[in-house]
Structures are given as C-alpha cells and as structure tokens.
Symmetry: C2
Subunit: 193 residues, 2 copies
Amino acid sequence: MPEAASNKRTTLSAADWEQEALRVIAEQGVAAVAVEPLARRMGITKGSFYWHFSSRESLLEQALLGWEEHDARNLNASLGELDCPRDRLISFFRRVSREGLTHEVYSALCAAADHPQVKPLLDRVAARRMQHIAQAFTELGMDETTAEHRARLTYSVYLGFLQLQRQSQVPALSSQQFEAYLDHVIETLIPEA
Amino acid sequence: MPEAASNKRTTLSAADWEQEALRVIAEQGVAAVAVEPLARRMGITKGSFYWHFSSRESLLEQALLGWEEHDARNLNASLGELDCPRDRLISFFRRVSREGLTHEVYSALCAAADHPQVKPLLDRVAARRMQHIAQAFTELGMDETTAEHRARLTYSVYLGFLQLQRQSQVPALSSQQFEAYLDHVIETLIPEA
DNA sequence: AGGGCTCCATACGGCAGAGTATGGAAAAGC
DNA sequence: GCTTTTCCATACTCTGCCGTATGGAGCCCT
C-alpha cells in the first residue's frame, strides 16, 4: 500500500481510474469512456488498466456505483439538514448551482439513459429523489397522490433544466436572470407556508 | 424516375435512407446511425449509400433538416388550429401522446445534445417552441418576463417528461394514471381562463 | 442494337478501440 | 540479497466502421 494516497507520482489505484472515468463522463459523456484514450489522458498505458480491471464494462460498473453512493449521501445529508419541508425543496433546486461535478455527471448519465449499465442506476436515483420530494410535499399538506404528481412534476422541471443547460439555453447559473427564474419556479411549484 | 414511390423492390432514393436514419435515431440514438449497419438493415450494401450521399455526416445533416421542417410544420399547424391560448398549451402536452415517432426522435436528439450537428438544431427547435408557449402565456395576461419564465418552466416540464419516459419512470401514455398526472400538470402550470 | 446513365455489389485500405500475452522494473517480504 | 508480488510498457490480434475503387447489371434514349 502506498502511504499518502495521491501525492505526486506513486502508483495508480483502481480508484484513480474510476475518478478519471467520472470526469470523462462529465465532460464528454459515457460513450467517451474508452480504455486507451483514458490511459493517454492519465499519461500511462492500458497495460495498467487491465491489471486493475477485467474490462471496460467493469470500470463503468465500479465508477457508477461509486457515484451513486456519493449522491445518496448527498441526498440524505440535505434531508437531515433542514426541518422545514419547504426549505428542503428550495435547497434541492439551489443545490444544482453547487455540487458542480455531481450534476454534470448526472446530466451526462441522463443523456445515456439507454445504456444497459446506466438505466437501472438512473431508475434508482430518480426514484430515491422523487420519494424525498414527495415526502416534503406531503408534509406541506398534500394528499398522497397529489404529492406524487407534484414530485414528478418538480423532478421533471429539474431534468428539463439540466437538458436546457446542456443546450446552453438557460441563463448562466448564479446570474441575476437565473435567480429570477428560480424564484418563479419556486413560486409556481411550492405552496406558501 | 420510378413510378409509384415505395412499392416493393424498386430502386432506393436518398429520402429512403433519411427516413431509415430517423427510425434508427428514434430506436437507438444518433450514434447508432452508421452506414454499414444501416445498409444491412435495409437489405442492401453501402455501395448504394455512397452513391446517394458523400458521407455519413451529410446523411445526418439531411435527415435532421428534414425532421426540423416536419416539426416546424407541426408546430405552426397546432398554432393556427386553436384560438384560445389555454387550449393551445394543453394541446402542446397532449401532442406528446400522438406524433409518436417525431417525439421519439426529439427525445433521442436531446440525448445527443453535445453532437455538433445536433446542438444547433436543438437550439432552434427549443427557441421556436418556447416562443410559441410564451406567446400563449402572454395572451393569458402575463407580463413579458413572467411569460418567458413560465414558458421555460413549461418546456422544462416537457423535456423532463421525455427524460422520464426514456427511463420508463412515467405511467404509460393514455393510461388513467397518465391522464391524472397530465391534469395535475395543466392545473399547476396553466392559469384558469 | 449499341452507348450511356443509374444504382448497387464486391473488394480493398485505413483507423480506432477492446482484449491478450509477455516481459521488465521496482517495491515488498523473508 | 534474493525471491515474489505489484504495477506498467510493448507488441501483438481481432472486430467494426468509414470511405474508395471498380465493375457490372439494368434501364433510357435515339
């Protein structure tokens, strides 16, 4: 075992490959995760890769699983943080601005929803998130089916936002126009206290 | 010139290739549009393809342009059809159920928003559609910026719906649950008369 | 009937990425 | 100090697609 993990130029670990894979996903999408380009990007050859992983597929599997855990922790953290359900919902949207890489990865994963390794993950993540959102709407006094509908609607807005962002069809994050739009969204979707 | 266009086994035209390309896009995405697989799918060889097109790129260009025209006609038709702006907005959502292929193509294009040939097209289409939606909201009495925000929001809901549909995370179209959800969406986003 | 045009088949060269094989250097263990 | 294990480089093979070259079958025209 190397002592301090990623200092300068010790030997690489599987985690390093997974992390770089996630960066590539965020930048160029799932399809761009290829062994040889990835190796070049890390200044190394694929001889290393096939020592740590059995195939490209297994790298993807590991990287995606790691991302999912990270995202689940984020969600739970945001849940425990705030008592008021309305604040939780608002923070869900505001969280898009922070957590840059995580959302870029998610956006890229949405674009690859057909991929057999990606689809089940997306299903789990979306279900988890919508459940939390529905929970908040329920606490705001909606009956169950209304809360579910509103949660789906809210999550759709989030997904649509990611899509428009990918198309650069949305005002720059943390600009004044963006804040105005966000206010409009909150006002429309989230009932007043 | 062959007499009746596509009867049994006359000779193929460029339009046939474009049409098949759009089908592949709808089924498997933009990246799946490859010359040789496409040729196999049509029971022919690529010798034919390179007679009609100079490259894979030009096929995509033509096919996408054709789709855009078709879509623009659809939009204008839906605009002229209904006088009441509220009905126009509702029909925008309901149109998702009909026009199956067109929306499957659009959904696939959204997934390939990074593609250099796709991105400008998506920008144009989204802008056109949002403009029409904003117009309707304006007619419903909103001021300009509010209408723009609401249009962006509405279009985000549509995009998010397509995404969830790609993940099969949405009740089956024209099922009772779907109709209930659609009612909720309309009620939430579109002001009463 | 013969020449020309249209459309397609076949065969080729080239590139890029997935895996495999094998050897070598450097650290770890004894 | 010598072996063993760890990690990586190099050099293959194989597959799939792009684009080109070339020829050939069928029709169109005169």
